[in-house]
Assembly symmetry: C2
Homo-oligomer: 328 residues x 2
């Protein structure tokens, strides 16, 4: 947590200098955090009998967001949501977040304030402490990297590798809303962020993940960040299985005002949904709503190592992973 740099004689921008002290003042101290900002490392307390979960995620200007499209508080929210969603996908409890933030010299102070505000609001909602990080001057655009540390009862983390033939496949919430919104932004539409909350202010499914872990309901789990087809392939690959998905069962998101349902292609391949995709043994009774979030059964795990999409007439076609890389 130092911030030395090569710029001999350069002046660290005010935005960066004041950032640390403001975060330090505003970040609530949680029981899991023995020491936060203000030392070489943060010190965290992990409950007895627990393991530690760690995830890191970039949020880069021009790659993950654009300042002309995304309000600063939404950028801060999404930055942390990406990490929290990974903790949720293991059935874990988030404890602390660590923000590395590099700012270009001429960034308005108000942008930084709103970014931090959006991030801390989400942190507060999940009782997560912003316990450290790094700051630097960015040569080009806003660069953020979030590390989230959480915990889970020993041996209880829900892995990607536990799916077995015959397991049922479930998703939380609705899919495709974030990507459909992104397409509207690309087409030049001006959007009111609160009408497109699945894109601008996604909700990490911490409560769902924890419930599934506590009840030992899920055999495998992943969060849908790269797109459903890609993330399902992750489970199949790590578990050495295939899947059959019933297309009409896939819950497509409704976005905008008035709300309109997105096309199936967005739900199948669009990223940034931050819903959970999980499997459960056939005998398990999975509630249709967990922690206030709708849960849909959409298919089952097969022995063959391919993924088949069945349409409503019972005809099957291969569902290839088409995450962001080939998304058009």
């Amino acid at each position: 947590m130092g911030h030395s740099c090569l710029y001999i004689g350069s002046i660290v921008p005010l935005a960066e200098k004041s950032l640390i002290s403001r975060i330090r003042g505003r970040a609530a101290r949680r029981p899991g955090v023995a020491a936060g900002i203000g030392d070489d490392c943060a010190i965290l307390n992990i409950p007895d009998g627990h393991q530690v979960l760690v995830t890191t995620d970039f949020s880069l200007e021009g790659v993950h967001f654009r300042r002309e499209w995304h309000p600063a508080d939404a950028v801060g929210h999404r930055c942390l949501a990406r990490g929290l969603s990974d903790i949720a996908a293991m059935g874990g409890d988030p404890i602390a977040a660590f923000l590395s933030l590099a700012l270009p010299p001429k960034i308005p102070q108000s942008w930084v304030n709103q970014f931090v505000k959006g991030l801390l609001k989400l942190a507060d909602a999940f009782h997560v402490s912003l316990a450290g990080g790094d700051t630097a001057q960015s040569p080009n655009g806003v660069l953020a990297d979030i590390a989230v540390v959480g915990s889970v009862s020993k041996g209880k983390a829900i892995r990607r590798s536990g799916a077995r033939r015959g397991d049922r496949i479930y998703v939380t919430g609705t899919l495709g809303g974030a990507a459909a919104t992104l397409k509207m932004l690309f087409s030049g539409r001006k959007l009111r962020p609160t009408d497109f909350a699945t894109h601008f202010y996604p909700s990490p499914r911490i409560g769902v993940g924890r419930f599934l872990m506590e009840k030992a309901l899920a055999s495998a789990m992943v969060d849908i960040s790269d797109g459903f087809s890609t993330d399902l392939a992750h489970i199949c690959q790590e578990s050495g299985v295939g899947a059959e998905i019933h297309a009409p069962a896939i819950p497509c998101a409704s976005i905008g005002k008035p709300a309109r349902e997105v096309e199936l292609q967005f739900a199948l391949h669009g990223g940034d949904d931050y819903e959970l995709l999980f499997t459960a043994r056939p005998g398990k009774r999975v509630p249709s709503r967990i922690a206030g979030v709708v849960v849909s059964q959409i298919g089952h795990i097969t022995r063959h190592k391919d993924i088949v999409l069945m349409n409503d007439e019972g005809a099957g076609s291969e569902l290839r992973p088409q995450g962001w890389e080939h998304f058009k």
Copy 2:
């Protein structure tokens, strides 16, 4: 640990795609790592009665390194060394590192290979597992952020805030070598990296930190990453004390071939040394060499809240924190 992005239709560069699988294959699995790369989070085992240490540090092209000055393996080495040094400064044991790496589209594959090689070589030397991270396409230059997670016996972490009046002040190794080397690079000199190892391949002082923690010798500690004057000010500020430093006792680095001693100004204010600065109660017997590293007593803590530099004639002047920000 996802890597979705805004670039609809963009192709993720080969360098990035192969990076994950190569790291996954090459990163040794350590006892502390129950699950590394290949799930939403890494899962770490923390020894009973221990707390978790977390630190994150940027390594940004044009800010912390230049590709024309720094060989790729040195960039990878320094990237991890920054994080390990923070763990050392708490007296902790590093367990796992998490690398977020964004690469520009046209980066040579050989550069990425050498970067990973340099990072993993240092990781191996300290039995640290590269257990996860994130990858992205960079809009501009190489962007790396390293998170290092370690552990320390509960309540035994050496904080910045424990220095008391009368404590002796010590530093490990020699100071100023990294900054003096940087000045030579700025002046256009071509340097052989192995002749200037303090800059290109700094050694995090994990062994020294652990010894001081185990023997309960240090009352406060910080690593010298921002520059001695700035990092001493960190201890004084957090401890609410001042310091008196004996200038002739400061161990100035010798660099180059033949080796030449650097000027005192570099030792006082230059950053990136990654030595340890610590205090110990007057009654403690601090060895003059710990874990193979020379330890020098250079002053003592005072009640007054300023830092005074005494020259060899006994005259004092105020030593102001002049880390990178004002380094000329």
